[in-house]
Every structure is written in structure tokens, then in C-alpha cells.
């Protein structure tokens, strides 16, 4: 099957797989920080920065657009924090405000850019829903490297993340600097979002951060295994979505990634070995059968059928 893909397409596939893994791991942190929605707010908040980066550079310069994206995503994060700390608005509402305002602003700027004369802005729309096929090899290599860096950062401080996410107060008592952990977390989150939006799009990027972690939770009671599974699911969704969009020629990548992630989620929801819906049903059936069996075997020893239930 790989023969059917061009050399560039193979690179794209590898990079989105790695990006999906990084998003899965990062999403696992966000999930236990109760900040799944934050990743959605920040990826939407990246859009105005992409367009401003393009406008300042005067052409579709990837570094300029990604720096712009990172800056506006960070501005979004700061704003969420300010709104929550400085008013009575709760965090979820603050995220909702930032998400919609930044995204609205981004769409407005994008429309203005699209009306500019000349064709330099063509393809900018790809940042909305993702256009993995449009990436060139140098983009792809950067994306793969950044994704691996994010995964490695979490991996080497894995024990610390576990403590910090489970009991931040106790972590501080042990001398783990909470401020630093929060800063590193935000840096990883923004980095993964910014490198991912070209492939998955600002609208759909959050799904790659949220759904793999949620799906992984259904399979295991160990944080390490949850993060590993989340990475695997993220990678699979990223890879599958990209593959489908490469074959579809011109299909946006983001929605296909979301569909793949959603399929994994549905399978986990039903068949998950720890929290899946099917498991309790099977257990109940087995227990019933066992009770019936023992009731038949020792009927004389049991007073009444009613006492079993």
C-alpha cells in the first residue's frame, strides 16, 4: 500500500502519526488537569496569529505563521487566566469567551486576507480544517521533530507529571515547583497545537488532544498505560485521517482525523476493559449463571430462591 504513496506522502504520514502521538500524550495531561476544553480554546485562539503572521511576512511563510499562532494561542491562555482570576467568571466560561472571540477575529482576518488582490493567500484556508497533503518535506520534518521532542519531554518527567496531576498540593510540599510544571505544560500544549494546525486544522486539532485520552481511560487503571495508549490512539487517528485525506485528494485532513478518533472512542466506550459498557453486562451475566449453578448444585442447602437476589 505504501508504494501507492509518493515519497512526500510517506513523510506526511509519518509526521501526522508522530503528531497524533504527541497530542495523545499531551491530551492525557490536559485530561487530568481538567483542561480538555483549554486545548480547544487554545487551538481556536491560534487562528488570528496565523493570518497576522502571514500578513506581516507578506507571503505564506510557515515560520512566521507558526510564531503568530503560538503568540495568539499564548495570548488566549493568558486571557483565560486573567478573566478567571480577575472576575467572577468561571474557567469554562472564560475558555468559551476566548475561544469564540479569537476564532471570530481569526475568521474576520482570514476573510480580509482572502479578498486581497493576488494569489499569495491561497491555501490559507487550509489552516481551518487541515490540509496535510499541502505540506512540503521541510514542514513535515519540523513537525516530526517537534512532536518527538514533546513526547520525550513528558516521558523523562513522567513520574513528576503523575504526582503533579494527582495531588499538586502534596507535590509542592515535596518541592516540585508547580509554576514550572504549569509553564512546561502550557509550552508543550501550545507547541503541539501550533505544529498540528497545519495538518489537522484549528477547528479539529482539539479532538486529537481530547479523544485519545478519553478513549484510553476506558482500557486501563494505570497512568503510564493510559498515556501510552492515548499516544497510540492519537497516532492511529492522525495516521488514518491523513491516509484517507491523501487518497481522497483534496479532502481536508482534520475532519477525517476526528472521524478516526471518534471510531476509536466508540470502540473503547463499548469494549474498554476497565470502564467499557459491555464489561459490566458480561460480568452480571456470568454472576447470574454462577448463582444459578450453585443454587442448582446445593438446592437443599439454600433456603429460598428469593434470598439470592
Amino acid at each position: 500500500m505504501m508504494q501507492a504513496l509518493s515519497h512526500n506522502a510517506q513523510w506526511v504520514l509519518l509526521a501526522t502519526f508522530l503528531l497524533g502521538m504527541a497530542a495523545g500524550v499531551t491530551g492525557c495531561l490536559a485530561y487530568w488537569k481538567r483542561q480538555s476544553l483549554m486545548s480547544d480554546a487554545l487551538s481556536h485562539a491560534a487562528l488570528p496569529g496565523v493570518v497576522i503572521g502571514f500578513a506581516l511576512a507578506g507571503y505564506k511563510s510557515l515560520p512566521a505563521m507558526l510564531i503568530g499562532a503560538a503568540a495568539s494561542a499564548l495570548a488566549g491562555a493568558v486571557l483565560v487566566h486573567r478573566i478567571r482570576a480577575g472576575s467572577r467568571v468561571k474557567e469554562d466560561a472564560a475558555m468559551g469567551i476566548v475561544l469564540s472571540v479569537f476564532f471570530g477575529l481569526g475568521i474576520m482576518l482570514l476573510t480580509m486576507a482572502n479578498r486581497m488582490p493576488g494569489g499569495r493567500q491561497s491555501g490559507l484556508d487550509g489552516f481551518l480544517f487541515g490540509q496535510a497533503a499541502a505540506m512540503v518535506q521541510s514542514d513535515v520534518q519540523v513537525m516530526a521533530a517537534v512532536a518527538m521532542l514533546a513526547i520525550l519531554t513528558v516521558l523523562i518527567s513522567f513520574k513528576e507529571w503523575k504526582l503533579f496531576l494527582f495531588d499538586p498540593d502534596f507535590a509542592r510540599g515535596l518541592g516540585l515547583p508547580g509554576k514550572w510544571m504549569n509553564a512546561v505544560y502550557l509550552a508543550i500544549l501550545v507547541t503541539v497545537i501550533v505544529t498540528g494546525i497545519q495538518a489537522a486544522g484549528v477547528v479539529m486539532m482539539a479532538a486529537l488532544l481530547i479523544m485519545p485520552a478519553v478513549s484510553a481511560r476506558y482500557w486501563t487503571d494505570s497512568f503510564g498505560r493510559m498515556a501510552a495508549l492515548s499516544a497510540l490512539f492519537g497516532g492511529a487517528a492522525g495516521g488514518a485521517g491523513t491516509l484517507a485525506s491523501l487518497w481522497g485528494e483534496g479532502w481536508p485532513t482534520g475532519p477525517l482525523i476526528v472521524i478516526a478518533a471518534a471510531a476509536l472512542f466508540l470502540v473503547s466506550l463499548v469494549f474498554g476493559l476497565r470502564k467499557g459498557l459491555l464489561l459490566p453486562l458480561i460480568r452480571r451475566q456470568l454472576a447470574k449463571r454462577r448463582l444459578k449453578g450453585s443454587a442448582l448444585a446445593g438446592r437443599s442447602g439454600l433456603p429460598e430462591r428469593g434470598s439470592l437476589s
Partner: protein
């Protein structure tokens, strides 16, 4: 003897509402002290202020004659059980191991010796057979024992516990109190936020009555007098009449 913990003139607030005002006391080494007071008296806040988890508006806090930052390693903290999400994917052993993280070293993985120490602490709390159990599958009392085991492996000199006996079964209550008394016998100092006035005198040798400020502090027999308790709690205390009458 030099006090293990010296608090002078501490004040704290939530948003703009004052919770603690001019709190001053000193804790002698080798004592087992109950912090007692009505709901909203600032007991948990006091612990958090001492541990720099909640901002202190004014006042001084000294641990072992120095700041908390410098004495961190000698101070163990057991937060309220409901302060964490027990659905977190971890087993009892994982949680106890967290108490050893500083000894293991940052960015390093736990070794066999650390796991053995954590297992010993679990066994001390009667929890050895639950080591691999997912923490959400433990009862409230068992979760509390896991928290205490995590504090034990820290091998601290001063322990601060926030309501370790709230909503636990009788067996856990006994296990916790036995452990705290053993700690005191080994020369450690223990400070416990406690809610059950009936057991104060049986369990603790010192009492700190708190209602936004220190109402009374000293040996249980003196500080935990009828007048002091009434002063701390106001009029809403029928049990005292029952006990003495």
C-alpha cells in the same frame, strides 16, 4: 526546648473575607496536638498557610527555627482525602511511592528498595494486600490509610494532618491513632485538624482551639476546658451539657 513550629501574628483571607487573624502559637517537639474549632474557623486554611499553599497576609511562620522552604524535608503533610480525584489511574502502591519522590530524585525512576519501603508503610497501615488495588476501588478509610502511609515514608519530623478521621470506619480510626501515637513515641511531632470533640481528650495531649484566631492552646486538660470550648464554638454545643450533666 526550641519549638518545632512557631507561628506569630498570621493573618489570611479568601478573596476579601478574613479567615485568620493574629494567629500565634508554638508547638513543642514530641507533642500530639488537635486543632479544633467550628466549621469555617479556618483550621484547614491554617495548615495551608503554614505550608505556603495559601497566601499569608501578615505574620511569621518558623519550622525548626527556619522557613518552611528550608525545612520542607522535615515536614510531612496529609491533605484532606477529598482534595484529590480518586478516579486517577493509580494503585495504592503508586500513591505511597509519591512520598518517596524526593528521595528517589527528580527525573529518576523508583528502584526496588523504594518499592519495598512503600510496601512496608502500607503493611504498617494494614494495607499490604491492597497495594495493587486501583485507588478508586478502596473504601474511604482505606484511602485515608494510603495517604497516611505516603506521609510515613517521607520520614518527616513534623506531621500536619487535615481531618484524617473524617468519615472513616472504626478500624481506620484505630489504625490512624495508633500510628500517630507511635510517631510521637519516636520523638516526632504531630498536628491534626480534628472534628470530633468527644475524642479530643482521649486521643491528644495538646489542643489548639481555633476560631479565626487562637482561643486557647496548651495541654489538653487545661486548654480543652468547658469555657474555652464554648468560647470557640459559641452557644451551639449541646453535647457539653450532656457530658458534664
Amino acid at each position: 526546648m526550641e519549638p518545632v513550629l512557631k507561628v506569630s501574628g498570621v493573618a489570611a483571607a479568601y478573596r476579601k473575607n478574613p479567615v485568620l487573624e493574629d494567629v500565634s502559637f508554638a508547638v513543642a517537639p514530641g507533642t500530639l496536638t488537635a486543632i479544633v474549632g467550628p466549621n469555617g474557623a479556618g483550621k484547614s486554611t491554617l495548615l495551608k498557610v503554614l505550608l505556603d499553599l495559601h497566601p499569608r497576609l501578615t505574620g511569621e511562620v518558623e519550622f525548626f527555627g527556619t522557613t518552611y522552604r528550608r525545612a520542607k524535608e522535615r515536614v510531612g503533610y496529609v491533605p484532606q482525602r477529598n482534595s484529590v480525584d480518586w478516579d486517577f489511574p493509580a494503585c495504592a502502591l503508586d500513591v505511597v511511592l509519591m512520598g518517596l519522590y524526593r528521595r528517589i530524585g527528580w527525573l529518576k525512576w523508583p528502584r526496588r528498595e523504594h518499592k519495598e519501603r512503600a510496601m512496608e508503610a502500607l503493611a504498617r497501615m494494614g494495607m499490604a494486600e491492597y497495594a495493587k488495588r486501583q485507588i478508586s476501588q478502596l473504601s474511604g478509610g482505606q484511602q485515608q490509610r494510603v495517604f497516611l502511609a505516603r506521609a510515613l515514608v517521607q520520614d518527616a519530623d513534623l506531621y500536619l494532618l487535615d481531618e484524617p478521621l473524617a468519615g472513616v470506619d472504626a478500624a481506620t480510626e484505630r489504625a490512624v491513632m495508633d500510628t500517630l501515637k507511635t510517631l510521637r513515641e519516636n520523638g516526632k511531632t504531630v498536628l491534626v485538624v480534628h472534628h470530633d470533640l468527644q475524642t479530643v481528650e482521649d486521643y491528644f495531649d495538646h489542643v489548639l482551639l481555633l476560631n479565626r484566631t487562637v482561643i486557647a492552646h496548651g495541654p489538653a486538660k487545661e486548654a480543652f476546658s468547658r469555657e474555652n470550648v464554648i468560647r470557640a464554638y459559641g452557644g451551639a454545643l449541646r453535647w457539653l451539657g450532656e457530658r458534664t450533666g
